[in-house]
Amino acid sequence: MSLPALPKDFSGDFKPVAKYSAAIKRPVEPVGQYFLAHATRTLRGHTWSEYEKIEAQKNVKKVEETNDDDDFDTNQDPELLAHDPREWKECDLYAVLGLQKYRYKATEDQIIRAHRKQVLVHHPDKKSAKGGLNQDGFFKIIQKAYELMLDPTKRRQFDSVDKEADVLPPPKPKSKSKDDPLPYDFYKAWGPVFDSEARFSNKKPVPSLGTAESTKKEIDLFYKFWQNFDSWRSFEFLDEDVPDDTSNRDHKRYIEKKNNSARKKKKTEDNRRLADLVKRASLEDPRIKAFKKSEKEAKEAKKKQKNAGADKAAAEAKAKKEAEEKAAAEAALAASAAKVSNKKAKEAAKNAKKKNKRNIRNAVKDNGYFGASDKATIIDADVETLIDAFDDVKLGEVAGKVHGSDAATAKAALDAVAKELTASGKVSSLKYFGA
């Protein structure tokens, strides 16, 4: 693509002709690296070139940083330098690369850089320049180590048997009793042990041993984790070299079988070792002891409380029972008393009734049948009829009126009731009263 030629009559450098169409304001989607760049530009008010400058500066810094802080040892032990390359598996391969300080923690990047540093020092070409010939033994080991370290599977196999990275547990205390104080600080002695064992864990993060202030939950979690430890440790690295099967297939199979069983045996041993380790640590753990003690105390206190509680409850139950019995007896007494008084009242009422009836009859008799003694039988019969028809109230009323009064009053009273009763239809065959 090409640009057109300038017409002859064009003057000046730039001629603005028109304005460009108005822009539309829209939200952009706040995602992606280019948006972040846009945001930085907008927020910091950078122009494009300023932004690029700053970005360029940043990149330079990053590159520099990556080359700093290398701490790889290139002065190896003379013994290691003289090691037979055929026996390379027996060397400390991290020491070979100068990564003793990092060991299993070394990153891939560190391994690459450490290897480069070692190569610069130990390359056979450099050695021969110094006068020694055929001194490529150690370089071979470096190459082997580098190859192994960059293969994650092989590196794990080596890490599994890297004795230098192991931290041994503290020596067992001599005293037999559990309650004796430990001759070492529990946390300082066991912390590094678990830290180093943690590298074999399939599960991350691995809980740490913690401090004397750790809560019971944390401690339980810690021991539970270690009791169910999921380890990737394997022992292929210690295998006997398997001969290739061109010479003797049976022999090869035999060696393979032997290797397999040896691995299995070592793995079981390792699992047992770890289990023992965890058990010992848990037995020695002062926190667990403290918890057990406090738990025991709490239990006893509870028991005590429970006993005290039981006594109180028994006393309460007894008191309640007594109260109930008392109440029952009182109730029975009251009931019988009520029965008696009821009976008495009934009798009294009966007597009163009898007395009233007698009073009425006597009143009639005493008044000489109101001067009509010839009709005595009729009057008597009438009185009886009346008395039978009276209810208790009426009876008392009439008895009160007639008792001890003179003949006229008694007769009037009896006449009145007789009329009343006849009117209400309670009696019908009265012959004398009410007539």
């Binding site: 603005p16 108005a22 829209r26 989607e29 280019y34």
Partner: protein
């Protein structure tokens, strides 16, 4: 800090993590990459994911599905259509809840439990505690819904770093995987989910994405295809055994879950079988179906989906010609028929990205969560304030040029430098050749024209074929020089030398043009209307 990307869908959710710059969708402990967004309470047990979905057959009333859209909505506004065969939403003080085993559970609690299970699955996979997440939401999620989701997620132990739009997230993942983020293109992202479909037209300009339009259909999705397939099989079953498998909820649920599997299988193979033990009245059902039959059964839905994609383009004020690529997202995008239907409505120049057309593509179901994980890995090192600052309207709302800006070359053609819908500030550079010693650089706005080429139908030699084929018209979008904005003279550039033309639009809308050839530098500036 470990941050993950979560695509939280109505039907399924998926988790993505970035590891060494690579994004992966991870499986939950059940082995599912697409974890059904379902929760079921049976007795005292709580089930998640596929295990919960399986309970739809036996315990539909205590199983919650399709609840994502209900989060943060008042009860009056929810559409319970898709809860018909599961626990029904109930009114809990104006909000949405469910009545499960006599207890009321709000939808927020359900979402919290679901996100918790997602967090656990991610932690199980990574082996580290997950603290933050970028979660995708549909473009029509309201502010209240976003706020509620943030709160719910935080109470599930997941800090929300950012909520991003689903189509944008999918497009980001797609473009990042292909490393095409810097190619200026206009995309249609069509997401065909389980119960709803969403589409968006997105302009990608200099790696910045701008949504031009969105469309939603709450009644279109894979579930509708399952239904039509279930109807088809139900008819066949009834014909054979004189028994209706749709009459009880249980047999219907059985039929539907089998149909889902059959539908998925048919995306990969031509023929599939369906077999259900004791579907209804003790009769077993076993039959086979081929892809063509399935396409016929779901024809109406497929054509609806295609016209849905067309509608979003119209909504953006564009024509199908303007669209450079169509990205199909969501489970239903695996269906070949859908991809070919969508391809049919676009001209040949438009590329449809679907797994049936390009087997090297990522799984369309994974894109959304992958984009979220990418975004998470980008912002996880920032503080919350820094992220919030970059989401301010002053940053997000930017001006976009409405017409393309470019220059005219020696042949009089328009060379586009800044495409339409580009957000500024922006700077673009192109290099051309000088045709003479002194050259003229003319800055133009592009004018959209459509070039029509008529391809005559082939004439058949035998006259028996009386049916005359219509001539085919191929349309092509072309920009020609429109309004002249300015002229720039570069004197002494030297014939045949390279000339660098830099067009820069500043934050305040000044359009600056610089032409440079060796030591010669000429500058000019044009204002915005």
């Amino acid at each position: 800090m470990v941050a993950i990307g979560i695509a939280f869908g109505n039907s399924t959710s998926s988790i993505s993590v970035t590891k060494d710059g690579k994004v992966d969708v991870i499986a939950n402990p059940d082995g599912d990459r697409f974890i059904p967004s379902a929760l079921s309470y049976v007795g005292d047990d709580e089930y998640h994911g596929a295990q919960a979905l399986a309970q739809l057959v036996r315990n539909p009333k205590s199983t919650v599905v399709n609840f994502r859209d209900f989060i943060g909505l008042p009860f009056a506004k929810v559409d319970p259509t898709y809860s018909q065969h599961s626990a029904h939403p109930v009114d809990v003080k104006g909000k949405v809840g469910y009545e499960i085993n006599g207890k009321t559970v709000t939808v927020e609690e359900i979402a919290e439990r679901h996100l918790k299970s997602i967090k656990l699955a991610a932690e199980d996979y990574i082996g580290q505690e997950v603290e933050g997440a970028v979660i995708t939401v549909p473009t029509d999620f309201t502010d209240a819904q976003k706020e509620t989701l943030t709160k719910v997620s935080e109470s599930a132990g997941l800090k929300v770093l950012q909520l991003i739009n689903e189509p944008t997230s999918a497009l980001l993942a797609h473009l990042s995987a292909k490393e095409e983020l810097l190619n200026d293109k206009i995309f249609v992202v069509a997401d065909f989910g389980g119960i709803r479909s969403d589409a968006a037209v997105i302009a990608v300009r200099g790696g910045v994405l701008t949504v031009l339009s969105t469309a939603h259909d709450y009644n279109l999705g894979g579930d509708k295809l399952d239904d039509s397939l279930a109807d088809f099989f139900a008819k066949e079953f009834q014909k054979k055994y004189k028994s209706d498998p749709k009459k009880t909820a249980k047999s219907l649920a059985k039929l539907k879950s089998a149909c889902i599997i059959t539908k998925k299988t048919l995306s990969n193979v031509q023929t599939s079988t369906i077999s259900i033990d004791s579907l209804a009245d003790g009769y077993d059902f076993h039959t086979s179906i081929n892809r063509l039959r399935f396409e016929l059964v779901g024809r109406q839905i497929f054509s609806k989906m295609a016209s849905f994609v067309e509608s979003v383009v119209t909504k953006a004020g564009l024509e199908t010609l303007d669209i450079d690529e169509v990205l199909l997202v969501g489970g239903s995008s695996n269906i070949p028929k859908l991809a070919s239907n969508v391809q049919f409505i676009f001209p040949e120049s438009t590329v449809v990205q679907a797994p049936s057309l390009d087997s090297k593509l990522d799984n369309p179901n994974e894109l959304t969560s992958k984009g979220a994980a990418l975004q998470a890995s980008m912002i996880e090192s920032f503080d919350a304030e820094e992220i919030a600052e970059s989401l301010q309207p002053v940053v997000v709302n930017t001006f976009h040029v409405s017409k393309p800006i470019g220059i005219k070359n020696a042949k009089g053609e328009f060379i586009q430098i800044i495409s339409r819908e580009t957000a500024y500030p922006i700077r673009k550079t192109i290099t051309l050749e000088a045709s003479a010693d002194d050259i003229l650089v003319e800055l133009y706005e592009g004018k959209r024209t459509i070039k029509e080429t008529v391809i005559e139908a082939e004439k058949y030699s035998d006259d028996e074929d009386s049916e005359e084929e219509e001539p085919e018209i191929v349309k092509e979008l072309k920009y020609v020089p429109g309004e002249l904005l300015g002229q720039l003279a570069v004197r002494g550039a030297g014939k045949g030398n390279k000339v660098e033309v830099i067009v820069n639009i500043t934050r305040d809308g000044k359009l600056q043009i610089t032409a440079r050839s060796g030591a010669v530098v000429v500058k000019g500036e044009v204002q915005s209307a």
